[in-house]
Amino acid sequence: METENQAQILSNVEIAKDIWKIDLETPQAAEVKPGQFVMVELPGYFLRRPISVCDTNDGVLTMIYKVMGKGTDLMTTLKPGESLNLVGPLGQGFPVVGSVDAVLLIGGGVGTPPLVKTAKAWLEKGKKVDVVLGFNTKNDVFGLDLFAQLGIDAHIATMDGSMGTKGTVLDAIKECNIDTEFVQACGPLPMLRAVQNAYSKGYISLESRMGCGIGVCMGCVVTDNGGELLRVCKNGPVFPIGKVVL
């Protein structure tokens, strides 16, 4: 159930170029399901920013965010002891149910974070989890340590070949001979398009510019394959593969 909370910041550090990790203490942490997001109020800004939840541990909610503009730039200046007003958790996350034996999690850039909690949930179900992450270049890479803590050795693809497989996440999947059919993916649109073309079973998580985050303003709509408009914030951000026209 979504609530509002003034969450105290425990830490806020840069972990890669323009990529920051923030830990907040909030009872909302206990409510978060994998792939859900929160709406973050930034002092001096009217609209909240939707940010996916990376992980939760004992009342601590972790988000990894990219500096996209003035709002998220301001977020980097926040110090431990200060607080952020969060509304959430929101949206439909990655379903962690089903009869599959193995899951392939595919992340692109700042789409990587929600896969951490998702991976954890699948491991708790006793499933085999492979993780493949794509970035532009070595300096952009982050999150390996988060998956390593779960015992997962994430495979990396970089577009310029400076780390891991040269090319896209699909190139890395091929190179690593991962034949898992069920995927859950979060990342930029071109990556999601490629995943949606290559796989028929699983889910993708969309990023969107949002107004309200709770399903009322119709600011973040996408079209499904039947021509219906769906709200990324309320019907998503996670949708079954093939459901949404990308």
Partner: protein
């Protein structure tokens, strides 16, 4: 503290009404608090034909507010009547239907279909949406056009008709008076101001629609000024709207001449804002030595 407000067709327990387009049909907010605490509730604009709305992006942050160009997305009056309004019947609040259309006839068709809905207590004519190519603001920017559509709607409406006016005009008083002369039961001031945001990376408008409607605290002084002007020149009640974020803001609108208020974009900033304002309003009225909402109305010029 007496918070009640009596307006044509509307018996409001308090003056707080979520504004059209910022509350959908109440379902999402009903998860957050009991909608029966609200004085009223104005549903998202309904047209006769389903509308897909504008391409995305539809939303942009601006200083002290936001731009939107949703484009009146809705599934049409038949769907809304059958699938959305019954849900609202269980709440003890006054539901207002915001009516829109691409032509004058479409407004009339929506009203005809909603006349027998027990849930709807009044109509709010949206002749002020800046984000559609046909209808919307185009029907409300001259006294002649605004008066004409008001009269046509009044002729078929079996419930009171409020007219929501655009601030994107040279003389809002003349338009308000034309609506009053045409039989409007009340006015709603103001809809969004036309605005633009540029994406510096592309050099192009950020919103797919080009321009959008500006709302939020940025437009509060504009709304207050227009209410202040119009209230002194008409004899029908005004529902004030534009950038309200607090109970103090509500009191400013009452003082400026509004009898009740709508809360719009603030619901996006804080989904619990209407509840908080209703909770705080009695103490704010008391602080400024009012015994009722009614006492505060029009204080600025009376």
């Amino acid at each position: 503290m007496d918070l009640s407000v009596k307006l044509p067709g509307l018996n409001l327990k308090n003056p707080i009404i979520p504004a059209s387009g910022c509350f959908a049909y109440g379902r999402e907010f009903s998860r957050l608090y009991d909608l029966s605490i609200l004085g009223g509730l104005c549903i998202k604009s309904v047209t006769n034909d389903p509308r897909l709305g504008n391409p995305t992006p539809r939303i942009a942050e601006t200083p002290c507010g936001m731009l939107n160009a949703i484009g009146l997305q809705n599934k049409g009056v038949d769907f809304v009547k059958q699938r959305e309004l019954p849900f609202l019947a269980k709440f003890d609040t006054e539901v207002i239907a915001n009516v829109a259309g691409a032509s004058e006839d479409e407004y009339l068709e929506v009203i005809r279909k909603l006349n027998d809905s027990p849930v709807i207590k009044a109509y709010e004519l949206n002749i002020s949406c800046p984000n559609v190519a046909h209808g919307g603001m185009g029907l409300g920017t001259t006294p002649e056009l605004a008066g004409k559509i008001t009269r046509m709607c009044k002729d078929v409406a079996e419930k009171p008709v409020y007219v929501k006016l655009s601030p994107n005009v040279t003389d809002i008083v003349a338009i308000a008076q034309a609506c009053e002369a045409a039989g409007a039961d009340g006015l709603v001031l103001i809809n969004t101001l036309k605005g633009l945001s540029i994406n510096l990376k592309t050099g192009k408008p950020l919103l797919a629609n080009g321009t959008g409607g500006l709302s939020g605290p940025a437009i509060k002084p504009v709304a207050l000024a227009m209410i202040y002007q119009v209230a002194q020149n008409v004899n029908i009640p005004i529902i004030g709207v534009g950038g309200i974020m607090s109970a103090e803001d509500v009191l400013e609108f009452l003082n400026a001449g509004a009898s009740a208020v709508e809360i719009g974009a603030a619901n996006f900033h804080d989904p619990w804002i209407c509840k908080k304002i209703i909770d705080e309003l009695p103490s704010v009225l008391e602080k400024y030595r009012y015994n009722s909402v009614q006492e505060a109305v029009g204080r600025s010029f009376k």
